[in-house]
Subunit: 540 residues, 2 copies
């Protein structure tokens, strides 16, 4: 039995009862074809196809790695190059080594590698087995995080041979970059990674506006941006259906779990994008409430479900979607502001932010605010996606990749309180005016909590100065979704020429931030919310 719910001028939902709940799948209709439940852009189809072939030609600039420390592009051609002292293997021979029992071999460029002992240590989990007995390059194309000198070095240590001359010649195929169709971005965005594209605005711009402009809103993508053809898409407008759900607008801050990771990684390396303090933004989102849509298919707060799963239209090289889930009560609660949003700051959602529909779960980590929404599953179970089960979790500082058991920690949902100084910039020289320096920044806490105080110190906590809370949403906890922009004039003692400004925030549950990264360090570098500090020079 199918119940169709027309949600907006963009999507059609079909309600279909499955064993563990109700599955709402989204159908896009195109001019020339109909794809049931998911549409692949041409480049994505290609990426999914070539993953079972060998492909030696890396994408543009792939042989270079950008080293932040030295600001240089390092040529990586030596990795995977032919080594005359090692044996040669045919592709067929390599393909026989695809299980633990037979040893696990992979190919990178001309190199053959035995990764048997590395499989369990692989930060990305079982995904590595997709390359077993075959080339790993398609996956490295998709997960740009591999494009690091350290990772090339790790791989090269497992080198056992070369791909035979015959097969190497034969198997060189062209491969399109799955990221070729990503949207153009504003050049001011500072990328933490290019493929997938992850970037933040300059911190000094961040606190300029209570509402973050779309073009400067931090981008956190896990996979290539799916392509939805807007010209054909518009043919689907069905105004009557669209009107049946009440349009709802909220202003909400979204933050990546890895925001401020770079401060934590200075202490000890962590796995993850090297975010600064600007993987956070505040925008007005318009759409329909998820609870209204669920109500239409007979689901309400009395229904016996535990989780709501979301799947994106962005897929990995095996066709698996990005996925996440939130507790059921959050979606159906009378006060729930969980949105299926189709507008951001009054404009259609930009592609980088989930066009045509993004789930907005205010107060909850960005990773659950699934973009390019493709499917909603009401379930007894959490999403089984990598990102819900084996990522976006935190651990004790002493847990490392040898001892981590992802089952022991809950998936991050609501985020703890945090704050950052946006101006002045670290290392800058600031003129003292009327004996004071002027400091600006943001503070935010997840779960609908409001910032009630921001404290600053320039003497290591001997004296604290209370900031002025300049801009706040007028809503009350537990539905206070926006960040707080603050500023402070801090008096500087006459003799000082260098100071280190520290900030901490307090939320309406009176939770506050931990002082140091040492005691909250975790191998994924998430929830990096210790005091932010900015050392500056002062000029009198």
């Amino acid at each position: 039995m199918h119940k169709y719910i027309r949600l907006a001028n963009t999507l059609r939902y079909s309600g279909e009862r499955i064993s563990n709940g109700i599955r709402l799948s989204c159908t896009y209709k195109f001019n020339n074809d109909k794809h049931n439940s998911r549409n692949y852009s041409p480049s994505l189809i290609l990426a999914a196809t070539v993953s079972s072939f060998l492909a030696y030609k890396f994408y543009k600039n792939s042989k270079y790695v950008y080293l932040k420390e030295t600001q240089q592009h390092i040529n990586t051609e030596k990795y995977g190059a032919y080594q005359p002292n090692l044996p040669e293997y045919s592709l067929e021979e390599v393909s026989k080594h695809a299980t633990k029992e037979t040893k696990i071999w992979v190919i990178f460029r001309r190199g053959v590698y035995d990764i048997t002992n590395f499989v369990e240590e692989h930060p990305g989990g079982d995904q590595i087995m997709l390359g077993a007995g075959n080339s790993i390059e398609p996956f490295w194309l998709l997960y740009g995080v591999h494009n690091q000198i350290q990772i090339y070095e790790i791989l090269e240590k497992m080198r056992i041979g070369n791909v035979s001359e015959k097969d190497a010649g034969e198997s060189i195929k062209d491969m399109s970059d799955p990221y070729d169709n990503d949207p153009k971005r504003h050049p001011i965005l500072k990328p933490a990674s290019l493929k997938p594209f992850n970037a933040e605005a300059p911190l000094s711009l961040l606190a300029e506006n209570f509402i973050s402009p779309n073009e400067l809103f931090y981008v956190r993508n896990h996979l290539p941006v799916p392509e939805v053809d807007i010209s054909t898409y518009e043919l689907e407008v069905e105004v009557e259906d669209f009107k049946q759900f009440q349009k709802h607008t909220i202003t909400a801050t979204i933050m990546c779990a890895g925001n401020r990771r770079s401060e934590m990684s200075k202490l000890k390396m962590v796995k993850g994008l090297d975010w600064g303090c600007a993987a956070i933004g505040n925008a007005t989102f318009t759409g329909v409430r998820l609870k209204d849509v669920l109500h239409k298919v007979g689901i309400n707060e009395d229904s016996d479900y535990k989780h709501v799963q979301f799947e994106g239209l962005d897929t990995d090289s095996t066709g698996k979607s990005y996925g996440a889930s939130i507790p059921f009560w959050k979606a159906v609660d009378k006060k729930s502001d969980v949105l299926l949003a189709y507008e951001m700051n009054g404009k259609p959602l930009p592609r980088d932010h989930g066009f045509p529909i993004r789930v907005i779960v205010p107060g909850v980590v960005g990773a659950r605010n699934v973009k390019w929404l493709g499917k909603i599953i009401i379930s007894q179970n959490e999403s089984d996606s990598h990102w819900q089960q084996n990522d976006y979790k935190s651990f004790s500082p002493s847990v490392d990749w040898d001892t981590v058991d992802f089952k022991t920690s809950p998936a991050i949902q609501e985020l703890p309180v945090t704050s950052a100084i946006c101006k002045p910039e670290p290392g800058s020289t600031v003129k003292v005016q009327d004996g004071c320096i002027f400091v600006q920044g943001y503070a935010w806490s997840g779960g609908g909590k409001q910032i009630v105080r921001v404290d600053l110190t320039i003497d290591g906590g001997d004296n604290w100065h209370v900031a002025n809370l300049d801009e706040q949403d007028s809503s009350s906890p537990p539905q206070h979704w926006s960040w707080t922009l603050w500023s402070a004039k801090i008096p500087v003692p006459k003799e000082k020429t260098q100071i280190d400004i520290h900030v901490k925030a307090v939320d309406s549950d009176y939770n506050t931030q931990p002082e140091h990264f040492k005691n909250i360090w975790n191998l994924r570098g998430v929830l990096s919310n210790a005091y932010h500090h900015v050392p500056i020079n002062v000029k009198w």
Copy 2:
């Protein structure tokens, strides 16, 4: 118009519409008399009466102050004693000095004091004006917190004269101790103050039981315990009415905002009871849901109110009740577990814990869990009581009694995450077994959040050990009301003979505790949730 709701075998509520909402007032019926809306025990009536007289005879042992540091009772007779070098004033003369314009004089024993300049600094606020032009002793009887050497010293510095011989002789009257009718307590409870009675169990006993026994549950009273005559009370049983509301039981942890204050006050003095780590307990509470009662008088989650105020039957010397309020949504939310509780751990509420009815607001600071419930007011406004407006709030570490403005901070509701080591005790010698020491304790977070991890370190955070979470409530956030009892076996390096164990907890919003008290210090010593540490000796 009055609507009567019979709530239990104990109380009768009358619903009466007032300007700012619905007022539910509670009526006790006694054998020999009927008191509308509030019953005063004889001792309380006396206290209220004598407050307008002079009274020189202090209650039993009042001339002694117990000094924790030296464990001695100090005789305080010299304070307020006749001083031949100072002028004498008649009672009539003193009574003319009761405003700022005429100067504010008060009497203590034979002493006359000019407190004009102190009034604004008085930590108890305007209450001090109750004694203007008169004796302050009745109030000091009621607020035992004044019985401290420092306070006697402060007062004596404002000394200007003596009460005249004639009036001193005349005005010496007997005064009953308003605390005479307080219940007997278990002698193992360690008082933070005797009048009002505030006490905690020994910390080493605290983590023995997931459910805290009634006799050992920490007691936090602000005023004398009101007396309700159970024998006459039982005549009010009306079983049919009682049955109309569904009986509901929750297990919830209640914690005082000042729990662990003694650790903060070591850094710099704070105002408040010198609580250890045991002003917290976990019990099963049974009663009826407040939302069911409100629904009966036509109030539900769609009603346009902002706050629910509670008043206790415990009153100060002017007849003013203890009062507090919580946000309206908390009381009427579909998931609300706010209870009008009449049982604690399966037994009628003990007198110290609010007999016959106590409001249980799980996840929220103890101060809003009003005992001896006398009145419920549904309102647009917060309670205007001293305890809601000018107490139980927190401030920046640099705010002192000269600069504090209570209006700038919100009343504490949900409490932040905290934890404590219950065993071993500080300074004790612990035998190392199998290379480890065994540590036990509790962790809790307000707002229905669950403890997800407890970390321990014995080397200042270089290595952290994850504790075993031994006992937890099975409910999920955001309705996880109970604490978590944990234990850990920590390996001790061979060479160590002294170690300092530190603990921190992480809750389901991934909030964690601040490291040091320095940066969360506040003048009221509330929310004292920095890492708890216990230095011990180890024996091999």
